[in-house]
């Protein structure tokens, strides 16, 4: 039961992440949507799979390894893309931009 809940939650979150990617106005806000929702949704689905699978215990742990790797790598890549986007001159739609103050 609980794994079903996790699965549905993960799919729900991933769908809203994709929707956010389409709806938000600029790269940085889109990155918000994908970085959080992809990580959260993927981890949730992988947890559900680990709970539901009848693999041996190490097989289940492998799902967790994937989840952990996603949790480690996804924010890193998001950060790298955000920084690169800023450096390559994409201006954020923002009320305050302290980064531009310090790096004119």
């Amino acid at each position: 039961m609980i794994e079903l809940l996790f699965l549905l939650f993960g799919i729900f979150i991933m769908f809203f992440g994709a929707l956010g990617l389409l709806r938000f106005p600029d790269v940085y806000t889109r990155l918000h949507a994908t970085a959080k929702c992809d990580t959260g949704g993927a981890i949730s689905i992988l947890l559900a799979l680990a709970l539901a699978s009848d693999f041996p215990i190490t097989g289940k742990l492998k799902f967790l390894v994937i989840a952990f790797m996603i949790a480690m790598i996804n924010p890193m890549v998001s950060h790298a893309i955000a920084r690169a986007a800023y450096k390559s001159g994409i201006k954020p739609k923002a009320v305050v931009d302290m980064y531009a103050w310090d790096n004119p």
């Binding site: 790797m69 480690m72 790598i73 890193m76 950060h79 790298a80």
Partner: protein, 135 residues
């Protein structure tokens, strides 16, 4: 050229696990899916990650171009050597270790292929970044 601090450190944290995973694929290639080629790609990916994060110059200090070439050539020689060693046991490429070790020469063959493939891809990226990379 270096990338930001977060990227550098995360790649550094991930790389040893990747190498371990590649070693696992090499050694247990005969029990689970995987084998030389996949493991080689994983080895290469771990070095390429470091190279992307730290730049070519810094990575080259840890894994010099000469060493990479040396490993590549000797791994290739090792594979042919396994094949030629079979001649002493009757046929080219015969699995002469099978009576003694489960799987026989498969594991040694996989190790050779993994080193070969990994160093090959690293070499390709080294040559490319000589042209692209500043710093």
């Amino acid at each position: 050229m270096k990338m930001s601090l977060v990227v550098r450190t995360t790649t550094k944290l991930v790389a040893p696990f990747l190498v371990t995973y590649g070693a696992y694929l090499t050694i247990y290639g005969y029990e689970s899916p995987g084998g030389g080629f996949q493991a080689g790609v994983i080895f290469a990916v771990s070095v390429i990650l470091l190279m992307t994060a730290y730049g070519y110059r810094r990575t080259r200090k840890h894994f010099p171009l000469r060493t990479v070439q040396l490993v590549e050539s000797s791994a290739a020689l090792f594979i042919v050597g396994i094949a030629m060693a079979g001649l002493a046991f009757g046929a080219f490429f015969i699995n002469f270790l099978r009576p003694y070790v489960p799987g026989g020469t498969v594991m040694t063959f996989n190790i050779g292929v993994a080193l070969k493939v990994g160093t090959s891809f690293v070499l390709v990226f080294y040559i490319l970044s000589r042209w692209v990379d500043r710093d």
